[in-house]
């Protein structure tokens, strides 16, 4: 399974909240904080050869969904998703990732949070990122708001790169073209790179489409998880040839055992 990169910096959250504004603006982020539409994030102390090199805060990518929900005016859902992000950030997967990021030299930790994995990066770091991504996808799959049709994610692998576009192909074979500049901005513009397109619905005919780095979580248990609730899992609506035979024909009247009136 290919999923959007599971951790983000503050600017991405601000951008999701105010797509047309400056991602470095303080005001929108303070608004998110004040209403608890964003989690506290995870602070990492960075070290260099000569000692402390500063601090960095990174966040669960669920905060981006919380910010979008807040933008759409769904404050209760934004709070709930931000709490889910906080729960994830307090969990063991984030603890491992935080520890590994703190051991990286120079600015590499920021690059990793931004979606760039160092070429000689430790296998444990890749595993930690996959674990965080896997937990994030579990939360997304089981949450009705996060599986809303208002947000569509198209994640796949770049199969071709041409002058102006890259060809992005999902695991199941569906393909789409992505402007090369968008792929480049996400740091994913070479054949084989993993990229996700997130379509964030604005109204009936328009959306903000964002290209973000992706990760292959290759996690069978996640794929096997099933919730009968919500609209996110197509298995609740997919049928077999035997089902087609069963469902063809004239439906029988519904059976109503107790006379009931639905009132206002």
């Amino acid at each position: 399974m290919i999923a959007a990169w599971p951790v983000v910096v503050r600017d991405r959250i601000v951008h999701a909240f105010k797509p047309g504004g400056s991602p470095t603006a303080e005001g929108p982020f303070r608004t998110l904080r004040r209403h608890e539409w964003v989690s506290q994030g995870v602070r990492v102390t960075l070290f260099a050869d000569r000692g402390l090199a500063g601090q960095m805060t990174f966040f669960s990518s669920l905060n981006i969904m919380a910010a979008r929900l807040a933008r759409r005016g769904n404050a209760p859902a934004a709070e709930r998703v931000a709490r889910a992000a906080a729960d994830l950030e307090a969990g063991p997967e984030f603890a491992v990732l935080r520890s590994l990021l703190s051991e990286l030299p120079g600015g590499e930790a920021e690059q990793v949070v931004g979606g760039t994995f160092p070429e000689d990066g430790p296998a444990a770091l890749a595993e930690a990122l996959r674990a965080v991504a896997s937990r994030t996808e579990q939360v997304r799959a089981n949450d009705i708001v996060l599986s809303s049709p208002a947000e569509v994610v198209f994640a796949g692998r770049i199969a071709e790169v041409s002058d102006g576009f890259v060809l992005l192909i999902q695991v199941k074979g569906t393909a789409t073209m992505v402007p090369l500049w968008m792929a480049g901005a996400a740091g994913r513009d070479r054949v084989g790179d993993l990229l996700a397109l997130v379509a964030d619905k604005l109204d009936g005919a328009s959306a903000v489409v964002e290209a973000v780095p992706a990760i292959d979580i290759d996690d069978a248990p996640v794929a096997d998880r099933f919730s009968p609730f919500g609209r996110g899992d197509a298995r609740t609506r997919s049928i077999t040839a035997d089902d087609v035979r069963l469902l063809a024909g004239e439906p029988q009247s519904l059976r109503i055992l107790v006379p009931v009136t639905i009132g206002g």
Binding site: F226, R231, I239, A241, A248, P259
Partner: protein, 177 residues
């Protein structure tokens, strides 16, 4: 409206807090907890998702005359889709939950609380415009024998393929063409 001893009404966004306290699960049973958590934390968002209006989602709440919430149910229109492109309009019973203290209990007039709730669902489905009373189905955990029995009593007597090894999918019947 009031029946012999109950009152059923459609839900509204203001019911979020009421649903947040609805208890219908044995905490030791995972699939029961999943139902309860969905009702408590997600059902209002599901029912009033402004992007899901095409499915005509419906939330129903059932109260005793004293005002106690004894049942919660929801349904919506969906399209069942086969791999070859064949599709059928259908109604999915999203959730049907009876409060813990009403599980297995009946009203003084003899009707089971679960039958009243399920009858309300079927009545509501049959009254929707455009009609969507063909192919009403529910996804039920295979160990949820009580719900499987309720489905059977209310006409969901046919079984489709399983969407997951642990879940059964029950549907209303059709006469062969």
């Amino acid at each position: 409206m009031t029946g012999a001893g109950w009152h059923i009404r459609p839900g509204n966004p203001g019911d979020r807090e009421l649903l947040a306290s609805f208890a219908c699960a044995d905490p030791a049973i995972r699939w029961q907890v999943d139902v309860e958590q969905f009702i408590q934390t997600q059902l209002t968002d599901w029912a009033f998702d402004p992007h899901a209006g095409d499915g005509d989602p419906r939330l129903l709440l059932a109260f005793t005359p004293a005002g106690d919430l004894f049942g919660v149910a929801a349904h919506e229109r969906v399209i069942l889709q086969a791999g070859d492109g064949t599709s059928f309009p259908a109604t999915k019973l999203e959730v049907v939950g009876v409060a813990l203290k009403w599980q297995g209990h009946s009203f003084p007039t003899g009707e089971r609380a679960s039958d009243v709730l399920m009858s309300a669902v079927m009545t509501d489905v049959s009254s929707r415009v455009p009609p969507r009373d063909a192919r009403v189905y529910a996804i039920v955990h295979e160990d949820n024998h009580r719900s499987l029995a309720i489905c059977h009593r209310h006409g969901l007597t046919e079984e489709m393929s399983r969407p997951h090894p642990s879940y059964r999918r029950m549907v209303t019947p059709h006469k062969a063409q």
